[in-house]
């Protein structure tokens, strides 16, 4: 077919529709490429780099979530260079943040033999839990900066732009205008950011309170954002 391209992934030949990303192409033949920042509903930024693969003829590893399949491309999804990059990225993540609510990443760490203790005396990104609204809590110790929340709050979905970034580099943290509380921002409590958060950094308040050991009947209406029905 004219609009198809043929390529090989890990030695397996396949043909996909033109414009298909390597990530989707690999899925078609059952080859799993790990992802962290990728989400079907948000713009791919190729920033976590966990999905990098080796493409013959390319000097650098290529992010499978955005690079499109091309004719005669030869892709290796598990080469030594790829494995080293993935393992190191995972080890750096584990040394930086609290992954306890991110089972998918913990599984990845097992698969790539990544050690959570690889980087001794490493500075961690730690922060207090921000509990400032009735709908969700923000625990940025668990945030791995996938940007999904910022994106759904902005042009990927809601267009309210309540959140953006504090700092830069390693010190980056998701933040609000002059660190205002959520009710003081343009946030409409739509909950989309909570929905796309992969690590429990954003969590429904009710879930958080239950985890803290509270019983459902102890959780008051004021804590969860539900309106009391007028009788």
């Amino acid at each position: 077919m004219a609009n198809e391209v043929s390529l090989t992934i890990d030695g397996q030949p396949l043909a996909v529709e033109q414009g298909t990303t390597l990530l989707k192409a690999a899925q078609q033949i059952g080859v799993d490429i790990p992802t962290i920042c990728f989400h079907e509903a948000t713009t791919s930024n190729a920033l976590c780099r966990i999905c990098v693969v080796e493409v013959e003829g390319q000097r650098l590893l290529q992010p499978a979530c955005i690079v499109k399949a091309a004719q005669d491309m030869k892709v290796q999804t598990r080469s030594e260079r790829v494995k080293r990059a993935r393992k190191t990225i995972l080890e750096m993540l584990a040394s930086t943040m609290d992954l306890s609510d991110a089972p998918a990443i913990l599984m990845m760490m097992k698969e790539y033999n990544a050690s959570a203790e690889r980087f001794p005396d490493a500075e961690r990104r730690e922060s207090e839990i921000k509990d400032d609204n009735p709908m969700y809590i923000r625990d940025y110790s668990k945030c791995l900066l996938c940007w999904r929340c910022v994106q759904v709050c902005a042009d990927d979905a809601q267009y309210v732009n309540a959140i953006n970034f504090n700092g830069r580099g390693f010190e980056t943290q998701i933040g609000t205008f002059f660190d205002k509380t959520i009710p003081e921002t343009t946030c409409v409590l739509c909950g989309q950011c909570v929905g796309v958060c992969p690590t429990g950094a954003l969590k429904p308040k009710r879930e958080y309170l239950l985890e803290q050991g509270m019983k459902p009947e102890e959780i008051g209406v004021m804590d969860t954002g539900r309106r009391k029905r007028r009788t």
Binding site: C48, S95, A122, R168, G169, F177, T185, T186
Partner: protein, 612 residues
């Protein structure tokens, strides 16, 4: 804040209102000029006026290290502590100033008069140590004699030829009258657009900012791309540590740059140009403004093509071309994913040619001389003149203009050799994102092809010299600090890798290397090199990785053993259980070695004291 207090802001930002979000950086600069910092009501007013979401304004202020969202001193002192200045005891200078004012680096005096900050490279390396005092350069600071140069930093130019620097080094800016007619532009306007591009292609000119991309190919791509308007951008965000050549061109001969941009604009069909200059060069901005004014008066700039100046605010990152576009658009300076490339999708999503200052300065030369004549300068594969930024331990630091093809030895001889009759230990080539060379490389010719063969990047033309007495581990730690400070934080390898790299290099510099540090450093380095999103991350480890190859002994711990090799072998042998056991054993050993290390460190300090 009262309405009257806001009134001055409103009038200051009025010119930027039609720009919308793109006016954000100029508006923030204007606000900071009035108030010294950007408070919440000021940021709110700017956001409302330019119709930018509040959170986004906050994000932009937070990204740029020269924007402040809390009060700072009326006098702002930025002391460069990067490599070239560090060789001239910048740390001592910083400590002295801090002690004098009774504050620590990064703090403001209680009376709100003075803030002192350690700064990344200020681009004044040949007059180290250097300070940015408010908007003024203070250089050659000598605490012993209590002397310094304040004001327009002198342009120190040497070399074998004076083509790009013909009008530089005279102690003043060359006015339009001094520069003369834009003869190359007049000649170009008599040529067909494609002929100009072909001439530039034939000249073999490649980018001088570091990436060495063929300029003619870039122009051709932009000229053929669909979409309008098209843009030409002069990348004057010179921030690579050790680089200062563009500062001299901008300050002494702005008309050469404007002429180069105007020729480029004509060739590619651009109707708008930007000069994006780094925030650490505030004293150049009025010089450029005046030159643009002169060029408008002479009719070289007009309604068909004009140039706007954009000033950065302390982000090395924005030298990356796509991050620079984002910055012009009023956003955080994050790099974009490429492709699409700037030639088709540049600033505001339009076809854009972006060239370095020095690259553009070659353009009038090529058009005037013709490609054939131009190619007589330099070598066959690296034609043309080249500016090298020679700094550090040489007798005569400065910008050296030479034809491509001189050897490193010849260049260092021109610079009077190693200062104080010492011996050469190392040369940092191409900047922080470059690589180290040693005396073994002295006869390498300085051309793209010869340097590539020697595994050295030309980068932005940095040649920073370290004599035999220098502690290279300190240099590595500074490189580590620089990249950790300047990483934008977008992609994981660089965001966390630069931090981990800095931590390990700090340990090595402090003599507190831990077991496995070399392997960690290499894994982090290669992961950044292989998997980072943009050029910054991809080169953030290159100098360190080159150093590991050159001086493996510097990456051994105190006992001289390369512990990593041992560790690697164990791993190969061991299954999971064995590894777990080995870990427990190691943990114990670590405690012991930690004890031992503190002892050795103590010994070391005593030894040092004795030496003194």
């Amino acid at each position: 804040m009262t309405d009257t207090e806001l009134a001055s802001l409103q009038s200051a930002i009025e010119p930027y209102l039609p720009l919308g979000r793109s006016g954000l950086m100029p508006a923030l600069h204007a606000a900071q000029k009035i108030y010294g910092w950007i408070s919440e009501p000021v940021a709110t007013e700017i956001a409302k006026s330019l119709r930018v979401p509040l959170a986004d304004v906050h994000g932009v202020i937070e990204f740029y290290s020269m924007f402040y969202n809390e009060p700072v001193g009326k006098k702002f002192i930025r002391v460069c502590t990067d490599q070239a200045c560090a060789l001239k005891d910048a740390d001592g200078l910083l400590n002295h100033l801090c002690a004098h004012h009774g504050i620590k680096p990064g703090q403001t005096t209680p009376d709100g008069a003075t803030t002192i900050e350690a700064s990344p490279c200020l681009g004044l390396c040949e007059q180290a140590p250097a300070i940015l005092y408010g908007d003024e350069a203070e250089t050659n600071v000598d605490l012993k004699t209590n002397t310094y140069d304040l004001g327009r930093p002198p342009s120190i130019v040497y070399g074998q030829i004076r083509l790009l620097t013909a009008n530089c080094g005279n102690g003043s800016t060359t006015s339009l009258e001094g520069y003369g007619e834009y003869v190359a532009l007049i000649k170009a306007r008599g040529m067909k657009r494609e002929d100009i591009i072909n001439e530039v292609k034939a000249s073999g000119l490649v980018g001088r900012g570091g990436a060495a991309f063929p300029t003619g190919v870039k122009w051709e791509g932009t000229s053929k791309a669909d979409g309008s308007p098209k843009y030409i951008i002069c990348n004057a965000d010179e921030s690579e540590p050790g680089t200062f050549k563009d500062r001299i061109l901008l300050l002494d001969d702005p008309h050469r740059i404007i002429e180069g941009m105007t020729i480029a604009a004509y060739a590619i069909g651009a109707s708008k140009g930007y000069i994006y200059i780094r925030g650490e060069y505030p004293y150049i901005v009025p010089v450029l403004e005046n030159a643009l004014h002169e060029a408008r008066g002479a009719g070289y700039l007009n309604e068909d093509f004009d140039i706007e100046i954009r000033v950065g605010a302390g982000a090395y990152f924005c030298g990356e071309e796509t991050a620079l576009f984002e910055s012009i658009e009023g956003k955080r300076g994050f790099p974009r994913v490429k492709p699409p490339f700037p030639t088709t999708f540049g600033v505001f999503g339009k076809p854009t040619a972006i060239n370095n200052v020095e690259t553009l300065c070659n353009v009038p030369l090529i058009v005037s001389m013709g490609a054939a004549e131009y190619r007589k300068i330099g070598t066959e594969k690296s034609p043309g003149p080249k500016l090298f930024c020679v700094s550090g331990d040489v007798t005569q630091p400065g910008v050296y203009e030479v034809p491509f093809g001189v050897t490193l030895r010849e260049l260092l001889d021109m610079a009077g050799g190693i200062a104080n009759q010492k011996k050469l230990q190392a040369v940092l080539f191409g900047g922080a994102a470059g690589a180290f060379a040693t005396s073994a490389h002295l006869d390498v010719k300085m051309t793209f092809e010869d340097l590539r063969a020697a595994g050295l990047p030309l980068g932005s033309g940095v040649v920073m010299v370290f004599d035999e007495t220098r502690d290279m581990r300190d240099a590595f730690a500074r490189l580590g600090h620089f990249f950790a400070h300047e990483s934008c934080g977008k992609c994981y390898p660089c965001q966390m890798g630069t931090q981990r790299q800095m931590e390990i290099l700090n340990r090595i510099a402090a003599g507190k290397m831990q077991e496995g540090d070399l392997a960690r450093l290499q894994d982090v380095g290669w992961t950044m090199t292989d998997a980072s999103l943009c050029g910054l991350g991809q080169t953030a480890a290159s100098a360190v990785l080159s150093a590991i190859k050159l001086w493996p002994e510097l990456f051994k711990d105190e006992s001289g053993k390369m512990k990593d090799e041992v560790r690697g072998k164990k791993k190969e042998v061991g299954g999971k259980k064995v590894v777990a056991k080995a870990k427990a054993v190691k943990a114990k050993a670590k405690k012991r070695s930690a004890k031992r290390k503190t002892q050795t460190v103590k010994k070391k300090t005593i030894a040092k004291k004795k030496k003194k």
